[in-house]
């Protein structure tokens, strides 16, 4: 089987800092990583390939440096990597991103064989919308299985797939048809370490690099800023509360008195709470 996994290179947002005066993101020196949610999708794809045979292609749309993320994915064991990169893609929102990626996936299909499954992560940590996956599915007219916790079975001959899908209040067991698009839930597996062979192969591998034209995208008005119906008008920092927390004075007091002081301060601010807590707790 052929599986395409969409991965995104993102800044390691744990290390992002905002410039205190200009209020802009300080990107210098912020390391980039593969979007952590995408690793669950990649691992699931690798497991399916190991069980059923076939190939895993990783695909990303991004600047030339996104090649690093693809090479990393190869060291985990992906078979092929495609980088979709072109200045026309700059400023894409989810609709424009899903357009470009779906065109590239179609091209991957033509060139390397039609995918049975397209995987995305649940969401990115920078865009954080969880919309690109459903967008790709709609554009390629693939069946859409989001928040998949487990792939229970795949029957390649019958083109059938059964999955467990997280939904509000429980797990849905769904049977659907291949080809389909799956967004994988986090915490469902753990990315493998990758073998030495894979590391060597990754270092030698040629990464397929496509411009918009290479991917067969003719209508550039659907790409980048021009193809994005949403527009970011303002970026700003959240304001802090005017005053800092009122502090309980801790000098020369027993723990017991301090606890009483804190409770008194709580109930002074929220008088109705005392009755409620007495009913709910306290027993």
């Amino acid at each position: 089987m052929h599986i395409v996994v969409c991965i995104k290179q993102v800044p390691d947002s744990a290390q992002i800092r905002v410039h205190p005066v200009t209020n802009t993101i300080m990107r210098q020196g912020v390391p980039t990583i593969i979007n952590p949610y995408d690793l669950f999708a990649l691992e699931e794809a690798l497991r399916l390939r190991d069980a059923h045979g076939g190939e895993v292609t990783v695909l990303t749309m991004g600047p030339p440096m996104a090649e690093d993320a693809l090479r990393k994915a190869l060291t985990y064991g992906a078979d092929r990597a495609v980088l979709l990169t072109d200045r026309y893609f700059a400023g894409s929102d989810t609709l424009a991103t899903s357009f470009a990626l779906s065109q590239a996936i179609a091209k991957v299909g033509e060139t390397f064989g039609m995918p049975d499954i397209v995987f995305t992560g649940k969401q990115t940590i920078d865009g954080d919308t969880a919309q690109v996956g459903p967008g790709i599915a709609k554009r390629l007219d693939l069946l859409q299985l989001t928040y998949v916790a487990k792939i229970a079975s795949i029957d390649l001959d019958a083109h059938e797939i059964t999955v467990e899908r997280r939904s509000e209040g429980g797990m849905q067991m769904l049977k659907s048809r291949l080809p389909c698009l799956i967004t994988m839930l986090e915490g469902t597996n753990e990315i493998r370490r990758g073998s030495l062979d894979d590391a060597l192969r990754a270092a030698r591998s040629q990464i397929v690099k496509w411009s918009a034209a290479d991917a067969g995208i003719e209508d550039l008005t659907k790409c980048g800023l021009r193809g994005s119906p949403t527009v970011v008008k303002r970026v700003f920092a959240p304001t802090s509360r005017a005053e800092k927390a009122a502090q309980i004075d801790t000098t020369d007091k027993s723990l017991r008195d301090l606890a009483d002081d804190l409770i008194a301060a709580i109930f002074t601010r929220q008088p109705a709470l005392e009755q409620e807590l007495a009913v709910d707790g306290g027993a």
């Binding site: 905002v18 008008k233 700003f236 804190l262 009913v279």
Partner: protein, 369 residues
Amino acid sequence: MSTANRETPSPTAGRAGMKKELPEQFKDYRHVWVFIELERGQVHPVSFELLGEGRKLADKLGVELAAVVLGPPGEATWHAVAEAFAYGADLAYVIEDPLLAHYRNEPFTRAMTDLLNTYKPEILLLGATTLGRDLAGSVATTLLTGLTADCTALDVDADGSLAATRPTFGGSLLCTIYTLNYRPQMATVRPRVMAMPQRVDKPVGRVIQHKLAMAEEDVVTKILGFLPDNQSAKANLAYANVVVAGGLGLGAVENLQLVKNLARAIGAEYGCSRPLVQKGWMPADRQIGQTGKTIRPKLYIAVGISGAIQHRVGVEGADLIVAINTDPNAPIFDFAHLGIVIDAIRFLPALTEAFTRRLSPHNRDKLAS
């Protein structure tokens, strides 16, 4: 989420500023719609929170607020319609069909896009739940319109466009996003980000019924079964009235018991910051913050939590935030209302005991008299 005082233009502001005239085919798009999420007979409370928000937008625009109810034929669907009116909807678009008994992408996308193309609202709001996000992505792509996910504030501009504000860059900044030249303007909002509006019993308003142009044979994906979450073991953090949460300051997994004890004494739910989930100390459904639950309790007690921005965005809606932390400079004191600088490991047992004393049945009687 609070509003801006300091702002910088975004890199794309130059382009965005050039507002073009709304294309002719979108000019008759009017009114605000809220998707009512109905699952297994229950309306998700986020739908009512959105009706509260939708009411404000509709009033500002001088238009109507409509609820969209998609469900199986029968009582549950009509109960959802009545509830939507009680929470502020002027009218309801209803599609009753057995295919809409349980959520599946295909029939719901079809139902929603048909309604949107027929009745043309200017704004559509959905909950950012697994269901809402699954549906919103398909619908927006089908209609090729803009969708702003996980908004924390919604407003309409002087010229009537929807201004949707959401966190960006891991919550370090906020951005306001517009869909200027396409309709409907779509946005999703996470549960508990918006306040629950007052419920007012009122007679059922206008109902517009529509048919689903789809049969079971047209739907590829079949539901084989549903396994409800084990309710008793499951945290209902998002809707809890009182929440106590622990962070890395607890130092060791055993000390979590101190947090649980306090929670039990005051009838609270307990939760945690993200590192405790990563360490495997607590299950993921107890995590509070940007990538966990948004909470809106009357009282939130944060124990040994530094108050990183990703945590803060999940708790800011609390009425009273109390922070217990050894570091007087911890960022949590910037947004907590009450603080105490103290070693939580020593202090929590005393606090639990003091609460128990104060709330004991004996004192409770005194309070009641």
